[in-house]
């Protein structure tokens, strides 16, 4: 349950060719269970456009997604995608620093942007009548961003403060960072989305300009609009503003950087001022993009729900309420990422219990799912929750747009997100047991342990980089 932060995108409060409409570049896809169709278009410059109608309220969520994130980055400039995201609010040829935000605000809009391992996205939520403003402004900054040295000098300090807040001063988040860097050897998910502190301290305005030149273009972007709109009108508006933009000639996808097979358990200890010990465990696991068997990621997903799908799942029942060995215990896995991933466990021991006991208890739960198929009742409950969640998610216009963008950006067909519930429903108890046996094995396990150090400020050394400026 706590694992949220590990899977979440790094949110930053902005804080964070001429196409003609041909049969070919417009597809409408209705799916089953009465969900609204997604209208799909592509401009001649390669930019994709997705429109999903939701007429419940006179609002629109408009997002521009770029296929670029921390997993594309190189040693020495980690965090550059996220700093670039910040600089996108700092002006273009036409607009001064901060003007983007002021114009959106004056149009009644709420905006933000976020950077993750696999993508960077910019969004505005607006009254439906104001969509054009958003598209005009996003089109402008897609190709015309201007990085001023003096603006960069200030903004990099803001990002460094952000890193201090999110990571340096948060022992569990610090543990997660070290954990990821230990679990992965070559897989670029080893780098934090916000970047290593030393890389941020040595970043230059030119790094941002270079990165922008390589990745920000219509042929590496998708526009997703959801809300009270007419798809054809959205397409015409998008065409007006984005079609004139020039594509990049060559977009060189990053090398595979495939992780070598892990041959033995890894254990790391993190010492930081803290009160609570914290345990993180991760097993190498495939995502849908890397899975050899199509059903496996969905079976892993069901497995994570068996263990930690809310209050009726095994961890809550057995570890928190039953044995009372955990004050909190979580399991987490997401099938949808560009590269292979980890099946995670985390927790804090309950009062009077040790980290060793907590780890042992989690391992016993893992052995249990390997040795015995999950019961029909358990599986039934998980499926009932997935069916319901499939309806509940339609309550958020934003989330509907978010999902399309996310899938598209990691190189998956958005239709796959619509089929998610269906695929989960097909998972059998036998398959859950199979993936548990196959992937939750010691040799591919990494364990990180936070060992709390004294909290007294006098003994707490300030991190060495405090006070540095460049």
């Amino acid at each position: 349950m706590k694992i949220g932060f590990t899977l979440a995108a790094l949110l930053s409060f902005g804080l964070s060719g001429c196409a003609t409409l041909q049969q070919d570049n417009h597809q409408t896809n209705s799916t089953n269970n009465g969900k609204a169709a997604v209208h799909e278009y592509q401009l001649d410059n390669g930019m994709k456009i997705f429109v999903k109608e939701d007429h419940r309220a006179p609002v629109v969520a408009s997002m521009v997604w770029y296929k670029i994130g921390s997993s594309y980055e190189n040693n020495g400039t980690t965090g550059v995608s996220h700093v670039l995201e910040h600089m996108m609010f700092k002006g273009t040829e036409k607009y001064g620093p901060g003007e983007f935000s002021r114009i959106i605000a004056e149009n009644g809009g709420k905006e933000n942007a976020f950077t993750s391992r696999d993508y960077t996205a910019y969004f505005q939520r607006l009254h439906k009548d104001k969509l054009e403003t958003s598209l005009r402004m996003e089109a402008d900054r897609m190709r015309n961003m201007k990085v001023l040295d003096e603006e960069f000098a200030k903004e990099i300090q803001v990002v460094i403060e952000e890193r201090r807040m999110r990571t340096e001063d948060d022992p569990e988040s610090l543990t997660y960072e070290t954990f990821s860097a230990s679990a992965y050897t070559t897989n670029p998910y080893r780098h934090p989305v916000i970047g290593w502190m030393n890389d941020l301290e040595n970043m230059t305005a030119q790094d941002i300009r270079d990165w922008y030149e390589v990745w920000y273009a219509p042929n590496n972007a998708a526009l997703v609009v959801a809300g009270d709109v007419d798809p054809e009108q959205v397409y015409q508006l998008a065409k007006k503003y984005f079609a004139p933009l020039k594509p990049i000639k060559y977009i060189t996808p990053p090398k595979p950087q495939q992780e070598p097979e892990q041959k033995g358990q890894r254990r790391v200890i993190i010492k930081a001022p803290a009160e609570l010990p914290y345990l993180l465990m991760g097993y190498k696991a495939p995502s849908v993009t890397g899975a050899k068997e199509e059903w496996e990621p969905y079976a892993l997903d069901v497995l994570s729900s068996v263990l930690d799908g809310g209050n009726s799942a095994r961890f809550a029942k057995n570890l928190v309420r039953g044995q009372q060995v955990a004050a909190s215990a979580g399991a987490g896995y997401s099938p949808f990422s560009r590269l292979d991933t980890l099946f995670l466990f985390d927790g804090n021991p309950a009062q009077g219990h040790t980290m060793a006991e907590l780890e042992q208890a989690i391992r016993e739960q893992i052995e249990l799912v390997k040795n015995e198929p999950v019961s029909d009742d358990e599986l039934g409950r998980i499926k009932a929750q997935v069916i319901a969640a499939d309806v509940y998610q339609l309550d958020s216009v934003f989330y509907q747009a978010m999902k399309i963008g996310q899938f598209e950006s990691i190189g998956l067909d958005w239709r796959l997100s619509d089929q998610y519930a269906e695929r989960i429903l097909q998972v059998t108890a036998e398959q859950v047991q199979k993936v548990a046996k196959k992937y939750l094995v010691d040799d591919s396990l990494t364990v990180a342990i936070l060992e709390p150090q004294s909290m007294s400020a006098a003994s707490g050394k300030l991190p060495h980089h405090a006070g540095e400026r460049h």
Partner: protein, 438 residues
């Protein structure tokens, strides 16, 4: 008729001011009735999706605590057992029908939420489980002991967060003897004192019809909604409304609370008790604060502290009106060695704003944003149910949402200046700084 006329007049005047934007925006039509045991029920139909959101709020939260932590524990332990179900059975019952049950409790409100599909065989089961645990919780002793331990761990965990420590110190300094001084989670000392009897007493006193509001949004009709409200609360006695909570006294002098912490950043909070819900100055304060520090990157505080100087990732201010006077606070986090500089600029920005008020351009921009984004606050069932529960709990007029944009539009620079003068005294503010060495 009169209402319509007034609205129309305002619409015309406002339109001139905002160069043609639409001002008067209606909220959803809120239906209201009373259940047989005196609970106030509110309903907005939302037929589009086959689901329903229910929010029940009891005036039974931290402000009612004699022993801090009792209210939170009472609300949290509802799902630990009933006469015929234990915690596992309750959790299974919700999961089996895909329903999402939630319980939370802060200073004013103890909240129960239920989201369910509307298919009768699913909804009925979710409702019957919720009904039982609201009215007949068994508060098992073993659960209390376990949750007591977990609470202590949670409290210990807070001690490793400079933000949490700052927040706690801030409320303590602002509210002194007033119940708002306490965190809903209680303290390590108070948690030890809680007995099962405290929970049953708290439940008997406060989980009663006249002390409850229920808000329903979803694909049900009025008759079904009435039935839902009646069923959910039917087993509760009518009881009595909770007594008023004490008034909050104003701070007499400025206070600086500094705490050392092994962090690279100092978390800074400045503020004082300000307004309660329903205060006539609220709209002026809200619009003013939007300009000062309530609108993200485009606010003055963010501009001065983040955009111009790169001192902090976030710099903000907010009024949080509550049943009694909730806090006005300004906050930021910055590298320890520049905390004093950041504080200076924060105070300068506030004082300049207090003295001069917003500019005419700032006011127009703020109104355009608040009015233009009105629909965004009501674009989902979950937002609507939250809004109407807030309106109901604080007994705001039922046309609160309908008149909202007009009220925003009517605010003047002078009103903002006067309201800030009445509710903010920069020489009597609490300043909390947590981080670095002493």
């Amino acid at each position: 008729m009169r209402n319509h006329y007034t609205q129309l007049t305002q619409l015309i005047i406002s339109s001139l001011l905002l160069l043609g934007s639409t001002i008067a925006q209606a909220g959803p039509e809120i239906q209201h009735w009373q259940t047989s045991n005196g609970a106030q029920a509110y309903f907005v139909p939302a037929p589009e999706l086959p689901m329903v959101d229910i929010r029940i709020v009891f005036d039974a939260a931290g402000a009612r605590d004699n022993i801090p932590g009792v209210a939170l524990m009472t609300n949290g332990l509802l799902e630990e057992g009933t006469a015929d179900m234990d915690a596992n059975a309750i959790a299974d019952a919700f999961a089996a029908v895909g329903a999402q049950f939630g319980a939370s409790s802060h200073r004013d409100m103890s909240v129960i939420t239920l989201r369910s599909l509307t298919q009768p065989e699913l909804l009925d089961k979710a409702i019957s489980t919720t009904t039982k645990l609201i009215a007949e919780p068994s508060f098992p002793k073993a659960s209390l002991e376990r949750e007591r331990k977990r609470m202590l761990i949670a409290l210990q965990g807070k001690k490793q967060s400079p933000a949490a420590i700052a927040r706690e110190a801030f409320f303590t300094a602002l509210y002194g003897d007033h119940p708002y001084a306490n965190e809903a989670t209680g303290t390590e000392e108070s948690i030890q004192l809680i007995k099962r009897q405290h929970l049953t007493e708290h439940h008997q006193r406060y989980y009663v019809g006249r002390n409850a509001i229920i808000a329903i949004v979803g694909a049900v009709d009025r008759q079904q909604a009435e039935q839902l409200a009646e069923t959910l609360l039917s087993k509760l006695p009518a009881g009595k409304t909770a007594n008023p909570i004490p008034e909050v006294t104003s701070l007499k002098r400025a206070e600086l609370v500094k705490k050392a912490f092994p962090s690279s950043q100092t978390h800074l909070l400045v503020g004082q008790p300000a307004v309660k819900r329903g205060n006539e100055d609220y709209f002026a304060l809200f619009v003013g604060n939007h300009i000062l520090g309530g609108s993200g990157l485009v606010s003055r505080l963010s501009d001065e502290i983040r955009e111009k100087r790169g001192l902090s990732y976030s710099a903000y201010s907010a009024f949080s009106p509550m049943r009694e006077r909730g806090p006005f606070r300004l906050g930021l986090q910055t590298r320890n060695d520049q905390a004093d500089e950041a504080l200076k600029i924060l105070m300068q920005t506030l004082e300049e704003f207090m003295a001069g008020g917003p500019t005419a351009d700032e006011l127009i921009a703020a109104k355009k944003n608040i009015i233009g984004s009105f629909a965004l606050n009501l674009d989902s069932n979950s937002k609507i149910v939250e809004n109407i529960a807030m309106i109901a709990f604080y007994q705001l007029p039922l046309d609160y949402l309908d008149t909202y944009t007009n009220k925003i539009d009517a605010i003047t620079i002078e009103q903002i200046k006067a309201a800030f003068k009445r509710h903010v005294q920069t020489d009597k503010m609490v300043t909390v700084m947590v981080g670095g060495e002493e």
